[in-house]
Amino acid sequence: MEAEKKQFVVFRLGDEEYGTDIIKVTVIERMLNIARVPTTPAYIRGVINLRGDIIPVMDLRTRLGLPEKAEDDDTRIIIFDINKIVFGTIVDSVSEVLQLEESKIESAVGIINDSSLDYINGVAKAESKLVTLINLERLISELVPELS
């Protein structure tokens, strides 16, 4: 019997690789002009115009407590849709789509000790690298509490 496999979109922030469930990913875009929105949390950079729709965009580095980085040609915005709530996150680059078996995913407790543990579902071993799996609902839980 084949083990349960799930697909993840893998992206980079700095030297580390992160992943999210592909089901919630709508599209991956290059960097766009972001309009700042006042009185939003610091990790919300603002909103973009995505083919006529206004989509809020989050700076994932800020959200996870990582230092800021200037954007370059590899920077991407991943657009997610969780229960009709649409938003984007800025990442340094997008690497690949990985198939991972459930059994290869371990809990992150013990590995990660800081507050970012809140947003992490687990750590996966794929070939020779480790991918930290992100809990998307937790990312936006401050703004949309009913999700988590």
Partner: protein
Amino acid sequence: MVSIKQIPEAILPDGGAEIMDMSQYLDIFVEESREHLQSLNTSLLELEKDPNNASVIHEIFRVAHTLKGMAGTMAFTHMTTLTHDMEDVLDELRNNRINVSPEVVDVLFQCLDALEGYVSVIVSTGQEGNEDNADVIAALSRLMNKDKPAPQTQKEAKSYFAGGKASSNGLRLKLNIYDKNVIEKALEESMNVLQIYVELDKKCLLKAARAFIIFQILDKNSEIIKSDPSVEDIEDEKFDYSFTVLAITKHDDAFFKKELNSVAEVRNVETVQITTRHTENIREGKNEEEMHDSGRQAGAANSSSVTGTASKSPNVKRLTNKTVRVDIDRLDVLMNLVSELIITKTRLEDVGSGGKTNDYNQAVENLERITTSLHDAVMKVRMVPVETVFSRFPRMVRDISKELKKDMVLHMSGEETELDRTVIDEIGDPLIHIIRNSADHGLEKPEDRKAKGKDKTGNIWLRAYQDGNNVVIEVEDDGQGIDIEKVRKKIIERGLETEEAAAVLSENETVEYLFRPNFSTADKVTDLSGRGVGLDVVKTKIEALGGNIELDTVWGKGSKTVIRLPLTLAIIQALLVMVGDEKYAIPLSNIREIGDINPSDIQLVRNKEVMMLRGMVIPLIRLENVLGVPARETPENKKQLTCVIVRKGDRLSGLVVDKLIGQQEIVIKSLGKLLVGIRSIAGATILGDGNVALIIDVNSII
């Protein structure tokens, strides 16, 4: 979601019984029922005011009859029984055998409530549920049994009229002068008048159902002006095995013979062509045995009695509808397309501003004109008069008045004012809450009002009107108003402010606290209100619609709640401005005027910047501060500041911006579900260059 509705033993013309899937008709049933129930509501209220109004009684009868037919078709047996009993009572009413008393009206209102209950259950489950409303049925039959001695037995004796032998000229029905008039008119217009006698098989089990099918066929092809026994009796199966009808039709008798004989369990069909020969002997006063309900005054000297005896098929056709029901999703698609069109038009304007030619200008002007008209047209389609929401309030106030034992009357105005459909759907509950508050907490008991020198009947005013780009809805009462001091005490009690801070709150500021969650100064929690969960929900709902709410009150005199709602939801005229390096849009409807001011004209009052405008003191708001705009890299030392004077209701404020860009039509786009509730920003718009500009929510900034 909806289970398949089955009609057991639905009898088809070929005699076979089939299970029919009625679920596809549920939507239509619900929509039409709601309309009928609405009309019933209005009619009952009128009847209460004017108990002798015959035409209202007829209207109510008609609606009950239609509902009965609809319910019967959908096999909603409880509803059918209830409407059938209603019909009986209404029939007695319209024939003046029962008087319209307050008790009668109350029972009819109970019926209306029961029917609305059924429709609710049908909406959520697809079935009518198990509630049989036995108490209402009992109340109806009590009304029927009062002063109804002799006619009852007469009716019974008559209803088993076997249709017997035909008289020598073939007539089975006794015709009177009214029938003669109708017949002769029909003959003048070259229509056929047929007497059709139908005999069913003696083995027929469901006579009423068979008769229903036959009546359907007759109704489709003719107008039935007389029936023996009466249609109601036939529906009640109060006939032996045959009945006779008089029908006006374009078809000939052979047609009906063929159609009716093809219905299963029909044993015999006889037709007689009625001509003036049959009617010539009918005189005024003679042969006036009407076949229905003898003992009723035949004195109604107009054709109303003829129409009274004319059978009405269960599905009365409505007068031609000049409206079309449109799926709201399709409207949304239209709206989106119009929005895109406007954005593209704006783009064109930007592009062409290089080398303008006459043709180009004309073309763009045309485009402008067309898009504006198109936009208006589509917006109008979505607009619905507030009457649809207001209409249930008179009834509600009437019920509350009885429940609280306070005399009160509701005055409504401006029901024709229109609002967007989505707003209409949401505004009902908040309004109910506010009106209930007025009735419950505002208006005093009659004795108390008299003691204060007020009229013992309390008044509640519900007004709607347009004000600029907004629709304003006001609820005002002449009750006791709000005790500001009590509210102040509660604020201190709840620890929301210190005693000193609470003491300096203005009246308006104090009243604002009522909109906070769990804040209520009511001493008792009544069924209606007092739990403190209402006003904050009301405020949230209204703000979610892009509107705002204010409460004014005078202790002893009354209170007034004012709700402002935006008129158009999507496309507005706006002024584009620069604040720092960022572009913002200010809705034109908020703008009073624009001007430049010298920094030296700015003065400080209580540490806040103000300016003088033609003798008025206007507070200044620096947008760069409110919006947290990052400082420019090369700050300019400006000789003059650009100031946009905006207004919110009566209040004016000056917004200081860095530069004016220009006036533009913009499409309002929501910021999305993630960024809901951002104060000071009403939404975003996409400019011609594809960039996003935020729209300033003037109301929350002032």
